[in-house]
């Protein structure tokens, strides 16, 4: 009796191995969502950044850079990566190094992201922060939808197996 109860308990509330699903969510949902936000100049709360100062836009145009708020050469946006750290543990991060324009000090994309998001960028009117890196409500909803579809897919696969 005790054994059957114990087994039933484990089946009702299992620990799931969702490593593959988490990796796919990182690759197909979280990273593209951050990229989309950077491309459309909206933060992870879906709020638009304050427009760039006209002097900044002029300088960017003069240097032949992209005039989007967080895109200049495209190095930051293309540095987003993910890696599987272990079972049920996936990390999304900014990888690689870059040199500032005109060959100034080398800086990692992670350090640049930290300046933009956490330390703030000095402007004439004070510090500006750009919350571009994170999981938005949109990516949360899509991740749950993804797992919902995955469950249905596995059920369908099991159904096909039982028919054979």
């Amino acid at each position: 009796m005790n054994l059957s109860l114990k087994v039933e308990g484990e089946l009702l509330e299992p620990d799931f191995d969702l490593t593959d699903e988490l990796e796919q969510i990182a690759e197909r949902i979280v990273i593209p969502d951050i990229v989309a936000g950077m491309g459309s100049s909206t933060d992870i709360s879906d709020l638009p950044y304050a427009p760039l100062a006209s002097s900044t836009i002029k300088r960017k145009l003069k240097l032949g850079l992209n005039t989007s708020t967080l895109i200049a050469t495209g190095q930051l946006i293309s540095s987003l990566r993910h890696q599987v750290l272990g079972k049920n543990k996936v990390e999304v991060f900014l990888g690689g190094i870059r040199s500032s324009f005109h060959g100034e000090d080398v800086i990692s994309n992670d350090a640049l992201g930290d300046i933009l998001q956490n330390q703030g960028v000095r402007t004439k009117s004070g510090k500006r922060y750009f919350e571009f890196f994170g999981k938005s409500k949109r990516s949360e909803d899509r991740a749950i939808k993804f797992l919902e579809e995955k469950i249905k897919e596995e059920i369908e696969n099991a159904r096909k197996e039982t028919i054979r």
Binding site: L11, D15, D20, D110, Q117, F133, G134, S136, I155
Partner: protein, 169 residues
């Protein structure tokens, strides 16, 4: 003969190798609890079928849990939950993070009246905010009491009890 200048890729590879996760400041973790007995979705379905359940019931159970804040997928929902800055959630219930910061350690404090067994186990434990977020913050479905949880995370120094001071009359 002049030395061959390293290529951009070679320089990049060296720096990438030096970038350690601990020095990384921007990092999103999608993480849930992992044990030796963790089952994939496929394995769970197979085990339920062997136990006599039907595919319809299994699908219903899984989807109901996922979409209605059940316990099975509570850690998954925490793992993909929307964040603010970096990996720290803006948790309005606690309200201390903005005042005391993410480097402060927080103690899980239960009411200790009709407290569920999960919260009783957590009561008194001290961890960083990130660690609590990974385990499951109060009212996120990670504990049996789910949304009815009255526990709070308070800065660990905050919860120390002041000794009673008696003054001579």
């Amino acid at each position: 003969m002049p030395e061959k200048k390293p290529s951009d890729k070679e320089i990049r590879d060296v720096y990438d190798g030096l970038v350690d996760r601990e020095t990384r400041t921007l990092s999103l973790l999608l993480a849930t609890k992992a044990t030796k007995t963790s089952l994939t979705l496929k394995e769970f379905i197979q085990s339920r079928l062997l136990a006599g359940s039907t595919l319809e019931n299994i699908e219903q159970q899984l989807l109901d849990d996922l979409l209605n804040n059940g316990r099975m997928f509570s850690e998954f929902r925490s793992a993909v939950k929307s964040t603010a800055i970096g990996s720290v959630n803006k948790v309005r219930d606690a309200g201390y993070v903005s005042s005391f910061g993410i480097d402060t350690k927080y103690r899980w404090s239960a009411v200790l009246v009709n407290t569920c067994p999960d919260c009783l186990e957590r009561h008194g434990q001290v961890k960083t905010w990130d660690e609590w977020e990974e385990i499951g913050l109060p009212r996120t479905g990670a504990t049996v009491c789910r949304d009815r949880c009255h526990c709070v995370l308070v800065p660990s120094d905050f919860a120390s009890i002041e000794p009673i001071k008696r003054e001579k009359k």
